[in-house]
């Protein structure tokens, strides 16, 4: 067994989960800390991208700081037989950044099964986008609401629990 294969994906994830160092040769720096070569680390990251374990290496922007001060989670009670078709249409809208079907929680007064995240520069802009979604859903929607975000309480991305 070569030295490189002794380093687990878990160790690589642990070394990268806090972020990539912002230096000229970031992969070399991480590889150095792990005690492997840059070429091998890059190959391992490429394999993790192929498997889908890593979606991409990128910046997570803070929407607020980019002037996207209004961020509304719009939620919709959509006919179950139409949710797949309508969800696809809503997810394709350029101002929707996430769109999911999720289970209802009727016991907790939550009849909504379609979630679409909408970002805008002003609440009025978000409301206009919400109306656009309502128009597409039409009679298939029995009720809807919007939950504005007031504060980011935590945003860290993945953190592995420490193993003893």
């Amino acid at each position: 067994m070569s030295v490189e294969t002794k380093i687990s994906d878990r160790e690589i994830i642990a070394a990268l989960q806090g972020g990539l160092p912002i230096v000229a040769a970031p992969y070399a720096e991480v590889a150095d800390k792990l005690g492997m070569s840059e070429v091998d680390l890059v190959a391992r990251i490429a394999a993790m991208k192929d498997s889908g374990a890593i979606r991409r290496i990128a910046a997570a922007p803070n929407h607020y700081k980019l002037g996207m001060v209004a961020n509304g989670m719009t939620v919709w009670d959509v006919d179950d037989t139409q949710v797949a078709n309508l969800g696809t249409q809503i997810g394709a809208l350029p101002f929707v950044t996430h769109c999911y079907e999720r289970p209802r929680a009727r016991d907790n007064d939550w009849p909504y099964n379609l979630f679409a995240m909408v970002h805008g520069g002003t609440p009025a802009e978000v409301e206009a986008k919400r109306s656009e979604i309502a128009a597409i859903l039409g009679d298939a929607c029995q009720g809807h609401d919007i939950l504005y975000s007031k504060r980011i309480l935590k945003k860290t991305g993945l953190r592995l629990r420490k193993r003893g």
Binding site: M48, A58, A59, P61, E101, L147, K154, G157
Partner: protein, 149 residues
């Protein structure tokens, strides 16, 4: 900090994938007509100002055998700060937002196994004494995440 046009150009590019090359920031700079050191300085400044919250790999725990789940709690107003500290203390809580609703705390759990979601939700219920509602995704219609700066 105000972002200038170059920052906006860079932040849009950096929401796409970084090359797996020896000098990835030099490569990005070449695409945008910036030097490697200008790219690095601007990323550092945007991280320092909070315009970029994180720079690095986006992991998909589901592809690694784990799971994600959106969860919510209706937190009494007078306990909000205390419950926030308790919930944020769980490393499985990847992000957490305060929202304007009776269900006023919304967070995403990321666990290494699918069973970890229910287990973690239960531990959060024990810790806070409050019910945790879980809203796992049944279908995903778009996974864009990118916001034009």
């Amino acid at each position: 900090m105000m972002l200038d046009d170059t920052d906006r150009l860079l932040i849009n590019r950096l929401q796409e994938d970084l090359p797996l090359s020896n000098r990835p920031f030099a490569d990005v700079g070449r695409e945008l007509g910036l030097t490697e050191s200008a790219v690095i300085e601007r990323i550092e400044a945007m991280k320092a100002s909070g315009a970029i919250t994180r720079f690095g790999p986006f992991f998909d725990v589901a592809a690694m055998g784990g799971a994600f789940c959106l969860c919510a709690i209706a937190v009494p107003a007078d306990r909000f700060e205390e419950v926030m500290i308790e919930v944020n203390d769980f490393p499985e809580v990847a992000h957490n937002y305060e929202r304007d609703h009776t269900l006023n705390m919304w967070f995403v759990l990321a666990t290494e196994t699918p069973e970890g979601i229910a287990e973690t939700a239960e531990r959060i219920e024990e810790k806070t004494g409050l019910q945790v509602l879980c809203f796992p995704k049944l279908q995903e219609f778009f996974i864009g995440f990118r916001v034009k700066a």
